[in-house]
């Protein structure tokens, strides 16, 4: 069965590819990035500040630091020689395990030439194990974490035990010696002061953090925690939560707290909490709860691992962390229903905060995207007379189904007396394929019922099942037998007429039964799967739904896209758009950071994610369009570009003209607020957002609905802190048959007019 995880294939990349065309040659900048990222990757990050601080920490002991660096360089060299995917190398994915092995060895043995040679070969071993483990775990879509490090270091330590050229070192045992080596007696005194000033429970937290880099001392821990805080408030708070909750559990079970301070165990709680609470899942109150729940399990794993591995004189290192994270994530994949909480993050942003801000909206925006859009299987306005978990037949395994009928002017489903099928408005109406796919099963030849009769023996009546992708099918039932104009194996296009509504099977009066299911056979268990891009009408009020589950008695119809609008937002890779900016009265006011002219080029990456690249600032605005709705999904880079305002003005556009609907959306707050303003918001981001930004778009006019040449829209961005407005941008937009003509932006202080002047 297909996993119904949140499959958000959004348009992001986590690294900045500057010169992708220089194949094979080793770019210095890429190499530097790869080395730096190998450090920060230990905290799942590519943050510069964090890398620098971590390098600093690793060089507290110069030999350990050097041996770590040597291991990284060896690993990277191998990866380059093998021509591994450059972006993965640059991201440090083939360096961080080597780094840890290098650090481990550097700490364990005295400096010597044989040690350096061993480091090189141990690093090569680490790389081989990395590829091996990656190959295995890839099939399960799981990360390899630091498993290669564990295996490689254990192997090396066991093997080198009898290498007499390597002298065991006493580093990591006598902290004062090491501190003295770095800064003499003064530093020892300072260290003592710090160590004594803070309670043991806190100093152990710092030591545990330092231990991740084999630096079991408070100063290393303090530096790392500062790096974490700068990088991510969520990760920082999770590191505290994980650690201190473990301390509580130690007390509860009566475990000696000293075992925590004299072993390399503490960081397992920290890393597990970060990974589950804030990295692999979209941070929320539920992931924080999960992070707490796994701590006792990590304790069990830690103590048992210590005992078992202790027989070989091996430390457990990060084994508990690796086990719990992999098991936990893999377990989530077994959920059969569309998950409401604990969403896996498919494409990582730079920080967990950005994940929260971006994904908060995406979960609402497009739960179904990335899998497939399912439209209504009918044309015109229909009424749901039995929705999900309906009172009549939509129960149990079949509860996620819809019954469609048409309601006439008088509120009834039929005209005349309603004694014959033909009296029913829905009877004989076209049934459409809800999405592209193959017809996989057909049932026909069942005769239609008289009104009021039911054919329980042929429950579903004449039916068609279309498989859209593996694990996602739709079924339409109670059709007219001779109206089915497709065969098993046919490819059907979305919107294609496949049959007519009838009254066969368990159907006392004509209606269309429609359900989404995972298995390709008639009557399979239904899926709770949203329908996309439809309008619902209540009297004269019309609402647009990007997706949703229509409720019983909702009157719904498909959105029909307007060619001029669809055309204006059909941005094809390679196209170039140049906008000229004119400021009102030549006074730029708050927009002085902008130039007079900007050009964007549409790009598409290898995963066919599309983005605009601003030629001046190299900023990227990622967008998505499925022909019915266009929206921006992310913005990366410099905001001093018209591209930034372009994205805000057109954040989400439904591609069918309707002056009755308002398109609303939420804009991730980090698009509008500075890092400084977001600092406190970041801490509570998984729980509450007090900084919010909303987007609203309305169509104003269309000059001619049949062959339009001009469409006008207006949109608005409102950033607010509770009730207080921080920023208000209003846009007037004109589209012509040649595309976007102009965007006029007005804020409270200034305004400008951006005219599209060609390529």
């Amino acid at each position: 069965m297909r996993q119904f995880m949140l499959d958000l294939t959004l348009g992001f990349e986590t690294l900045k590819k500057k010169q992708p065309m220089q194949a094979l040659s080793i770019n210095k900048k890429q190499l530097l990035n790869a080395i730096l990222n190998s450090y920060s990757q230990i905290f799942f990050s590519t943050n510069r500040t964090l890398s620098v601080l971590l390098i600093l920490v690793s060089f507290f002991d110069v030999i350990t630091g050097l041996s770590g660096l040597l291991a990284i360089i060896t690993g990277l060299a191998l990866a380059y020689v093998m021509e591994i995917d450059k972006s993965s190398i640059e991201n440090g994915l083939y360096g961080f395990n080597n780094l840890l092995v290098g650090l481990g060895l550097g700490l364990f043995y005295e400096f010597s030439l044989p040690l350096m040679v061993i480091v090189v070969f141990a690093s090569l071993l680490t790389s081989f194990i990395t590829f091996g483990i990656q190959g295995i775990l890839l099939k399960y879509k799981l990360p390899y974490l630091s498993i290669p490090f564990l295996i490689a270091l254990w192997i090396t330590l066991v093997a080198t035990g009898s290498f007499s050229a390597l002298g065991l070192s006493a580093k990591g045992i006598y902290t004062y010696n090491e501190v003295f080596a770095i800064g003499g007696i003064k530093l020892v005194n300072l260290y003592n002061t710090i160590d004594n000033a803070i309670p043991q429970v806190i100093s152990t937290y710092f030591k545990s953090l330092g231990a991740i880099f084999f630096q079991y001392n408070v100063i290393a821990g303090v530096v790392i925690s500062i790096g974490l805080l700068i990088y991510s408030r969520i990760m920082f708070s999770l590191s505290l939560i994980g650690y201190f909750f473990a301390v509580l559990i130690y007390k509860f079970f009566g475990i000696d707290i000293n075992t925590l301070s004299y072993s390399y165990i503490g960081f397992n709680y920290i890393l597990s909490s970060i990974a589950i609470g804030g990295y692999f899942l979209q941070p929320s109150r539920y992931t924080y709860l999960a992070a707490l729940l796994v701590i006792p399990i990590v304790i069990l794993l830690s103590f048992s691992a210590e005992v078992i591995l202790g027989t070989y004189y091996l430390p457990a290192y990060s084994l508990p962390f690796n086990m719990i994270v992999l098991l936990f994530i893999y377990t989530l994949r077994f959920r059969t229903n569309r998950p409401k909480h604990l969403h896996e993050i498919i494409v990582q942003q730079e920080t967990p905060e950005k994940n929260v801000y971006l994904l908060k909206n995406y979960v609402n925006r497009m739960r179904a995207y990335g899998i497939m859009n399912i439209s209504l299987p009918v044309m015109g306005e229909w009424n749901i007379n039995q929705g999900h978990s309906g009172k009549i037949t939509h129960k149990g395994d079949w509860r996620h189904a819809f019954d469609f009928v048409i309601i006439g002017n008088d509120g009834k489903e039929f005209q005349n007396e309603g004694y014959v099928c033909e009296d029913y408005y829905c009877y004989d109406k076209s049934v459409l394929a809800a999405a592209d796919g193959y017809v996989v099963e057909i049932n026909k030849g069942i005769k239609e019922n008289l009104i009021g009769d039911m054919d329980i023996n042929h429950n579903w009546g004449n039916s068609i099942v279309i498989q859209h992708i593996l694990g996602l099918c739709t079924q339409v039932s109670h059709l007219q037998s001779n109206s089915i104009n497709v065969k098993v194996g046919d490819f059907v296009q979305k919107g294609q007429v496949i049959a007519k509504v009838g009254n066969s099977g368990r159907s006392p009066y004509p209606h269309l039964h429609f359900q989404v299911q995972s298995a390709p056979h008639i009557g399979a268990t239904t899926l709770d799967y949203p329908l996309c891009n439809y309008l619902s009408r209540e009297k004269t009020h019309v609402r647009y739904h990007a997706h949703g589950i229509p409720q019983t008695n909702e009157k719904i119809s498909n959105v029909v896209s307007t060619p001029i609008i669809a055309n204006a937002f059909n941005f094809l890779p390679g196209q170039r758009y140049t906008f000229q900016l004119d400021f009102e009265d030549n006074d730029c006011k708050e927009f002085c950071h902008l130039d007079k002219e900007y050009s964007f080029v549409v790009h598409s990456d290898i995963y066919k994610n599309t983005y605009f690249l601003c030629e001046k600032t190299q900023a990227k605005a990622w967008f998505f369009s499925d022909g019915q709705v266009f929206y921006f999904s992310n913005y990366q880079g410099n905001k001093n570009s018209f591209l930034y305002y372009f994205m805000l003005a057109l954040f989400k556009v439904e591609l069918g003209f309707s002056d009755e609907i308002v398109i609303k959306d939420q804009v991730p707050p980090h698009f509008l607020y500075s890092k400084r303003k977001l600092f406190f918001q970041d801490f509570i981001a998984p729980f509450h957002h007090y900084l919010n930004a909303t987007f609203k778009l309305e169509f104003v006019s269309i000059d001619d609905e049949m062959a339009p040449e001009e469409v006008r829209m207006k949109s608005q961005i409102l950033a607010s802190n509770n009730m207080h407005t921080d920023k208000l941008l209003k846009h007037d937009i004109k589209l012509t048959d040649k595309g976007i003509d102009y965007i006029q932006l007005k804020s409270e202080k200034g305004s400008f007019m951006a005219t599209h002047i060609g390529s």
């Binding site: 048409i406 029909v560 001619d704 049949m706």
Partner: protein, 447 residues
């Protein structure tokens, strides 16, 4: 009610028995229109009077729209002005979303006057002067070219114009029905239509927006529409293939039968005429299965008039005489005649008494008030006895009568609209002597 003396007649008893077509021989009475008593209407607005039901207009429009919109993604109705161009009526259709379909500058002006934007007017018909064409081009209306001379005129008009004209051609074709309306537009089978399309495509200032056909009137076989839609769809594809040009619409015109009964028909129209669903099924199935990309289907325009409004119109009047003809046959004379009821030339209109005195039906001729022999509403109808001043109601007179009526011998009557709240509104005043005084020039006087 006081029983009134009537001469004895001998007739076959058939009350309550169905005739050989299965039709009941009982007469029903129509005492109310939209819950308003017929007598109350004439008391306020005189007799005769036309009555238009807004509720019926809206319900019928929604039925028709639903029939198409649940089968085809993009549907646009255009109200056929000639069917009924009373402003109040047109505005109901425009409120429902209809565009305007006009066939003369008079109707064009009426549409503009009703607030219809030029871009939502379809200009049909064989009679468009250069001046008319210029106005239509300036307003961005859709011009449906009827013949080559109009095309040449339009070319001339466009020479001095900065605007592009949005045009379509009207196409006539063999759809298996008789008579074939080949007097309008360009013929499909002999290639004239394709010649016209090619010529238009060569014109820089003309944008070919769509294709139009109107296969006839009162068409009782939906399959004719199916053929017509298939032929237009083929042209749509040919234009796409040859000129890489995608048309915005296919206009199937009108001609849907209403529920009136044609003279000479055996069975009543309400039993034999196709429903909107049948027409819609024929047309949409043909277009959808023609091979046009289903994601880029052209808008389907419908200009049906008669079937939309016929049911909403009533004519009410009173008996002004009971007579026996020389043959002994009964006849009655009403205050409403063919001057009000142009359609009685081709329909056997349903006419009902507001109140029935007796079901003893008798073969009756019903005449109008004109001093002209042709003024006959029904030559023979089984009708109950009526008395002087009794109210009679003619149903299904909404189409054409309020436009094709004659000012002949007497004034044209009031037209009353009953709105959806059951309130009456006078939407066209009865004529009087002043109507004529404003029109006639009295400068010349022979005396």
């Amino acid at each position: 009610m006081k029983r009134i003396y009537e001469k004895p007649v001998i007739s076959k008893i058939n009350a309550g028995m169905p005739d050989k077509f299965g039709m009941s021989n009982k007469m029903r009475e129509v005492s109310q229109i939209d819950n308003i008593n017929v007598e109350d209407i004439t008391a306020e607005y005189g007799s005769p009077a036309f009555v238009v039901s807004e509720k019926t207009i809206r319900d019928t429009y929604k039925d028709a729209h639903r029939a198409f919109a649940t089968r085809y993604p993009k549907v646009q109705f255009a109200w056929s002005y000639k069917t009924n161009y009373l402003d109040a009526v047109c505005n109901i259709y425009h409120d429902l979303g209809s565009w305007a379909e006009v066939v003369s500058m008079f109707e064009y002006e009426k549409a503009i006057n009703n607030g219809v934007p030029g871009k939502k007017i379809i200009f049909n018909g064989p009679d468009k002067s250069k001046e008319d064409l210029k106005i239509a081009v300036d307003n961005g209306s859709y011009i449906h070219i009827d013949h080559f001379d109009e095309f040449y005129n339009l070319v001339e008009v466009l020479q001095d114009s900065e605007k592009k004209a949005k045009v379509a051609i009207r196409i006539n074709m063999d759809t298996g029905i008789y008579p074939q309306w080949d007097r309008f537009g360009f013929n499909y089978e002999n290639g004239e239509a394709w010649t016209a399309i090619t010529r238009i495509m060569m014109q820089d200032k003309m944008q070919l927006a769509g294709l139009h056909t109107h296969i006839g009137t009162y068409i009782m076989t939906p399959s004719a529409y199916s053929l017509a839609a298939a032929k237009l769809s083929q042209l749509f594809l040919d234009i796409q293939a040859k000129f890489n040009h995608t048309l915005s619409y296919i206009d199937m015109g009108g001609g849907f039968a209403s529920k009136n009964t044609l003279k000479g028909a055996y069975l009543p129209g309400k039993d034999t005429c196709p429903t909107f669903n049948q027409y819609a099924d024929a047309i949409t199935t043909a277009i959808i299965s023609s091979g046009i990309d289903i994601n880029h289907l052209p808008t389907l325009i419908l200009e049906t008039g008669r079937a939309m409004i016929d049911d909403a119109g009533y004519l009410i009047g009173q008996v002004i005489a009971n007579k026996r003809l020389s043959s002994g046959r009964r006849s009655i004379v009403l205050d409403m005649g063919i001057n009000n009821l142009f359609t009685s030339f081709w329909y056997n209109h349903d006419i009902y008494p507001a109140h029935i005195r007796s079901q003893a039906l008798e073969d009756t001729a019903i005449y109008g008030p004109l001093c002209m022999n042709i003024d006959c509403i029904r030559e023979a109808i089984q009708f109950p006895p009526v008395e002087l001043g009794d109210h009679l109601v003619l149903e299904r007179v909404g189409a054409y009568n309020m436009t094709q009526w004659m000012q002949f011998i007497t004034y044209r009557p009031n037209i009353v609209l009953i709105d959806t709240e059951k309130k009456m509104h006078l939407i066209r005043k009865k004529e009087n002597m002043d109507t004529f005084k404003t029109q006639e020039d009295t400068a010349y006087n022979a005396q």
